[in-house]
């Protein structure tokens, strides 16, 4: 098990590795180049690591994912969240997320800088992120039932990716007290909800259905 981390009783071993990973970045000012380098720093057994992560990249994905999970859990734990509209809930989620990101800003600046060029990481992270089902980002309304049948949920995906974009904005924000991040969250959320408004999506769905049903006639040259 990870020896350099401050082991807490009954703590999820994955969290210990995430903490250790952050320690590595803080110590070296860069991400570990490979698992061997990380193992050497953490002085842990390969078997312990493999018991919870398949690869170093999987740990790196989990490290970022953890911010989303913690934000999700914090919003759900808030007694006021049940009364919030989907839009307010998303806004609250974003504000909690930036609080969490703010606590690790130095780590994240370095981590995302190093990972910027790593297409494989970004791809894998987005893949995993979009497979998650964060309760607070669930989309309400009749349209979701329709889209469920098609196994797509454009709103959920948009909300998740919006939150990720917000992290990047926050880390680059140089305004006083990061006020521009607040403004960005407000205005981008508004736009997002307008674009993914039930009626807009239903219109798109309706048009798509109409076009699909006429594909053999009007929309075909054959």
């Amino acid at each position: 098990m990870a020896k350099k981390s401050n082991k807490k009783k009954n703590q999820d071993p994955r969290l210990e590795f995430v903490d250790l990973y952050k320690q590595f970045v803080y110590t070296h000012g860069a991400c570990p180049a490979n698992l061997k380098e990380f193992m050497s720093f953490g002085d842990f057994a390969f078997g312990d690591f493999k018991a919870v992560f398949d690869s170093l990249e999987a740990l790196e994905v989990a490290t970022m994912l953890l911010y989303f999970k913690r934000a999700n859990d914090a919003v759900l734990a808030d007694e006021h969240s049940a009364a919030l509209s989907p839009k307010e809930r998303h806004l609250t989620f974003c504000y909690v997320l930036v609080e969490l990101v703010g606590e690790d800003e130095i780590f994240l600046q370095q981590f995302l800088q190093d990972k910027k060029q790593d297409g494989s990481y970004v791809k894998q992270f987005l893949h995993v992120l979009n497979k998650q089902s964060f309760e607070v980002l669930r989309s309400d309304g009749r349209f979701s039932e329709q889209f469920e049948k098609l196994k797509i949920n454009p709103k959920k995906s948009a909300l998740t990716n919006h939150a990720l974009g917000m992290i990047y904005f926050y880390l680059r924000d140089k305004s006083a007290d990061k006020q521009d991040t607040d403004a960005f969250i407000e205005k981008s959320t508004d736009l997002l909800f307008r674009l993914t408004d039930t009626s807009t999506l239903m219109s798109m769905f309706d048009l798509g259905k109409f076009m699909a049903s006429r594909k053999e006639t009007v929309f075909s040259w054959d």
Binding site: L84, Y95, S175, Q179, A183, E186, K187, F193
Partner: protein, 441 residues
């Protein structure tokens, strides 16, 4: 119920796009107007102005910050603008779409350390009022109601580019020349930056309240510094109606005169005693209590009156009824209104114009009582003002006047407007406080 606005357009491009879009709408309104004219000769310009004003106001309202403040300031200039514009812009004084509650909660937590619902009972999740750079919520502690003013995020950073964006559009859309708009633009920029400093506002408010709290029939909120910060100000809630709503409720002439007198006294006291004045006299900043007291609720825009400016201004007033006196001329020179080295033709022109306007605008200052309800008085000011604005000889004069006049005139102009809206007849004999006259003697 008004839909909530969850964004402020921050990027310059986005904001420019918004205004450009409004410019296009105004163009379309002109097209519609002239199309209507083709089929009906009776179509008057007011319907065009109304359509333009609505589009301009909506754009300004959505952008908040600088553009909205412009809208507010231009609404003070009733009669300078077509009536339809001023009616739409007057809305900026107290009705704008609010920001989201999650952001309010977050801001409060950051500034005060607790969520609003942990501090207040019955904190209003929706804003009870929204204005150019902030919005107001209501809550209570132990039965005392408080107004909690929160500033929009990113407003201060957006102001300068806002104002630069507004200038050319305002010039074109409102049909006012750039030179005429520029003093407004400069003033708005300076004042808006000042207004975003809530720590400064709290300090200014305490200074004015301390100096004016003895004024009869005038009430002020009590501030709670421990629940205030860089982007939040908490003060006691003053129950009552906004000045505009109060006027619309058809109060008695006696009540209107009384409120008018309190407004007048409040400003005269600040100018002559404090030399530090509330420089934003628009209806949204005043509340009339159920006991017909004047409540002053916003202290974001404050003007400090420098001693040298005040001395020259006082000299101007003291000799304002002897327009040919040496002292009057000296005061004009000191205030930068007259350049005695300018060519004779220019000097004669300036003196003629200034004497005429001073006699007209200064009427209330030299009367024992003045009836601000006389529309003729205001009509002649605007008539002369319009004639002067079209006088090409007055452009590019060597004497432009002290920069302090921008704030000073705005305050007087705003006060006159309020008194006119109140239709108030008041005692104006206290322009020269006895002690001031004794000192100058």
């Amino acid at each position: 119920m008004k839909k909530e606005q969850k964004r402020i357009s921050v990027s310059k491009l986005a904001r420019a796009g918004k205004l450009a879009n409004t410019g296009a709408k105004v163009g379309a309104n002109y097209m519609k107007h002239y199309a209507k004219r083709l089929v009906s000769k009776d179509t008057d310009r007011s319907s065009l102005d109304e359509a333009n004003a609505k589009d301009v106001y909506e754009a300004f309202s959505e952008l908040k910050g600088g553009p909205l403040k412009m809208a507010q300031m231009l609404s003070l200039g009733e009669q300078l603008l077509p009536k339809s514009y001023t009616e739409q812009f007057a809305q900026a004084q107290n009705r704008v779409t609010p920001l989201s509650y999650p952001l309010i909660r977050r801001t409060f937590k950051k500034e005060v350390g607790q969520y609003p619902e942990e501090v207040f009972e019955g904190f209003s999740t929706s804003a009870v009022n929204a204005a150019s750079i902030g919005q107001v919520h209501k809550g209570s502690i132990n039965g005392t109601s408080y107004a909690i003013k929160l500033q929009y995020p990113g407003v201060a950073d957006s102001l300068k580019s806002d104002i630069r964006l507004v200038a050319p559009f305002a010039t074109r859309m409102l049909g006012i020349s750039k030179a005429e708009v520029q003093p407004y633009i400069d003033e708005v920029e300076h004042k808006l930056l000042e207004e975003t400093d809530y720590v400064q506002e709290l300090s200014s408010a305490e200074r004015i309240i301390e100096g004016c709290q003895h004024l009869s029939g005038t009430v002020f909120p009590q501030f709670k510094p421990e629940l205030s910060g860089k982007r939040i100000i908490t003060m006691t809630w003053i129950e009552g109606q906004g000045l505009k709503d109060w006027i619309d409720s058809n109060p008695s002439q006696e009540a209107k005169n009384s409120i008018g007198q309190r407004l007048w006294d409040f400003y005269q006291h600040q100018i002559h005693q404090l030399r530090f004045m509330h420089a934003d006299p628009h209806p949204g900043n005043f509340i009339i209590t159920p006991h017909d007291e004047l409540g002053v609720i916003d202290f974001g825009c404050i003007k400090e009156i420098p001693d040298d400016f005040y001395r020259s201004y006082l000299k101007l007033l003291q000799h304002g009824q002897d327009l040919n006196s040496k002292e009057f001329m000296d005061a004009l020179i000191e205030l930068g209104l007259y350049d005695d080295s300018a060519p004779k033709k220019e000097r004669e022109l300036v003196l003629g114009v200034f004497r005429e306007m001073f006699t007209l605008v200064g009427k209330p200052l030299f009367s024992e009582r003045f009836d601000f309800g006389q529309d003729d008085f205001f009509a002649s000011i605007y008539e002369r003002g319009e004639a002067l604005s079209k006088n090409s000889e007055l452009r590019g004069l060597s004497a432009q006047g002290s920069k302090h006049f921008i704030y000073f005139n705005r305050t007087f102009f705003g006060l006159y407007q309020l008194l006119n809206q109140l239709d108030a007849e008041i005692d104006t004999s206290n322009v020269f406080p006895r002690e001031v006259l004794r000192k100058s003697a």
